[in-house]
Symmetry: C2
């Protein structure tokens, strides 16, 4: 019998944790494991709001795969997946290379969900990768520099954040910290800078406890963020946004942070999806395929009340770990376990030393929440790269 | 008899040195001296190629006037001059304020000379102020960040420097040093980056010794700069440049460094000008006015062979010092001296540790020239702000 081939697509939270679990638990030659990733690094999507605003460097938010992957156990392929042929058990890369598998793990992440809003795709930025956040950071700095050369233009110093969900709020927290620095660097009067956080839902941070939401909004308002809640964006143009109420905001910088959908490659490859996400079974299998597993933002799972879990790093990590264990079991002819998420709470940062959180029934505010968030980041880095990586990356 | 009013427009090399000389030599109440400047700082135009490329910070290239001007002796007015009425002996500022004078010093600096080339004014950057170089730096970084989000676009990583004169060459030297850093920061393959230095004249650095020119070109070519000499630019568009030979270069970054003309306010105010520069007499007076003096890039003076001196910081500084002394003499009813420039040599930097220079009949190359240039920068800073300023600003 030949060695089973396990192919993992994507080194995000789900794909990476699957890989690391296999690296840890499989003996040499039990399986032939290949990890395909677009970049030579893994990045911490939940940190990207910091380099996007410029409050930390993009390098801090990434970990080179060579630092954490043992190439004696795992084949690393740098490449971009263009399609999956589940019936042929193959995957095609942009380079033309075709990889075959016995077991496939899809961890291809997400794309911005624009809800069909005109012009967003063309004109808005989104916080989605190391490359995209470096561009956002540079764009913001460029706008500050331009404003000094064309006095009177308000659009250069007006920033629109679309969405007051998790990403939008965390980004606003960082931007609120960053703007005073930029004003000093570029000799800009802080009064000239406007940041609008625009949310279609009737509240910021939908799903969060109202007391925490209120706290978050107050912290951000003190940093100069202006909220427009219950206000859908109708259109985005090269000159700014038009709101459903007819109001126009002139801005050269619209950052869309109002939700994600699964990677479109999954749908294009013939898998059945809801908003790009595959409704997996309790073993994280794609319907109709015993040997195709989906983790992270491409996987759709439901709680006991039949409501979908939001795509979070926390769940992706747990999926990866369970799936890694299950693949080891399958390779050894043992039985896999069902995947059950264990929600350990939610923490949102609101900039330096500020945050909110819900851990069980406990609500956390301010520095306590910020500290808990750091602890959680440390835990994750320790998990993937040991204490050395944790100490190198966490900003204390 | 009332105290004579001396009004100095512009705190560039010429205006600042005039002011400092008056500050040093005039007794209290001998004259009422006012310096009008657009910014609260003086900047070192000859350093601007560094912050433009991003090899040093813009802050290093400026000196706050409050650090060097004694407000007990000099009135500082932050304002933008819009017109001069020499017959009325008044100057109007953008704010609407009107200042009157007995003696006027025009040191309003230069504007880019575009030689009527279509599209340059709209689409090209120029290295002319703290604000403009911060924009160039940010623009370049933004282009690097964008290139990673739209692979295949060559225009983002193609940079065109128009002019291989002093500024163009010095900027290319810095850009050559900066690009490898940017490639590392943004994960860009250095092979993808192109820098073209395009010059209409039949040689780079016209007027320099051919051996020095050759040395400079070789140093810059090693840093990846591609020269197109004897090649006029016909047109600049939002997409790049079109050369006179029909060749098109697609680039989102065209930096025009091929010459300057005097500030257009001078011509608009009715002074007779050649390329915006006033042909002053040997006492630096504007024709027709005994009490209007012109220094720096707005002044046109000729050598013994009847050829105009190029507008340099070196001459502007000497003009300022002589004029300061002359104004003291005039206020005291003494005789002014004629202005005679003393050329102390020319030094051009070619990036870190590299340069060329001509001091008398001596040619300087490489680190020697770079060191001489530092020494000359130190001397200037010492002159305007003492040893403390010199040590604070010079990058060793």
């Amino acid at each position: 019998m030949s060695t089973p081939k396990i192919l993992i697509l994507g080194a995000g939270y789900g794909g990476l944790l699957t890989t690391l679990q296999l690296q840890k638990k499989l003996n040499y030659n039990e399986a032939d494991v290949t990890l395909v990733n677009k970049h030579s690094y893994h990045y911490l999507t939940t940190w990207l709001h910091e380099p996007a605003a410029g409050t930390s460097s993009a390098d801090r938010a990434r970990v080179y795969l060579d630092e954490i992957i043992d190439r004696d156990k795992i084949n690393l392929v740098k490449g971009t997946v263009v399609s999956i042929q589940p019936k042929e058990q193959t995957v095609t890369l942009e380079s033309g290379e075709v990889l075959s598998y016995d077991y496939l793990v899809i961890g291809l992440g997400s794309e911005p969900e624009t809800f069909g809003i005109e012009g967003l795709k063309e004109h808005a930025f989104s916080i989605r990768s190391i490359n995209s956040v470096r561009m956002i950071r540079e764009h913001i700095e460029y706008m500050f520099s331009k404003s000094k050369n064309e006095p009177g233009r308000t659009d250069y110093l007006t920033f629109v954040v679309g969405g007051a969900g998790f990403t939008g709020i965390e980004f606003c927290g960082e931007l609120g910290d960053r703007i005073p620095e930029l004003c000093r660097e570029f000799d800009v009067d802080p009064e000239q800078v406007k940041v609008y956080c625009i949310e279609a839902a009737p509240t910021a941070l939908p799903g969060f406890d109202p007391e925490l939401v209120q706290y978050a909004v107050e912290v951000l308002e003190k940093k100069g963020i202006q909220f427009k809640i219950g206000t859908p964006i109708k259109q985005c143009t090269a000159d700014g946004v038009v709101l459903a109420n007819g109001e126009e905001i002139k801005s050269k910088t619209v950052i869309w942070a109002a939700g994600v959908r699964g990677n479109s490659i999954v749908e294009k490859s013939g898998f059945e999806v809801v908003r790009g996400r595959v409704k997996v079974d309790e073993y994280l299998r794609a319907p109709g395929y015993e040997n195709v597993f989906v983790v992270g933002d491409c996987a759709l799972i439901f709680n006991e009340q039949g409501r979908p879990y939001p795509p979070t790093a926390q769940i992706a990590v747990q999926e990866g770990e369970t799936l890694g264990d299950n693949l080891v079991a399958i390779v050894r002819g043992e039985l896999p376990q069902k995947f059950v998420p264990h929600l350990q709470g939610t923490l949102a940062s609101l900039g330096k030393g500020e945050g909110i959180g819900q851990v069980g029934s406990k609500k956390l505010f301010g520095p306590t929440a910020a500290l808990m968030k750091k602890a959680s980041d440390l835990r994750y880095l320790h998990k993937i790269g040991g204490i050395g990586l944790a100490l190198k990356k966490v900003k204390l």
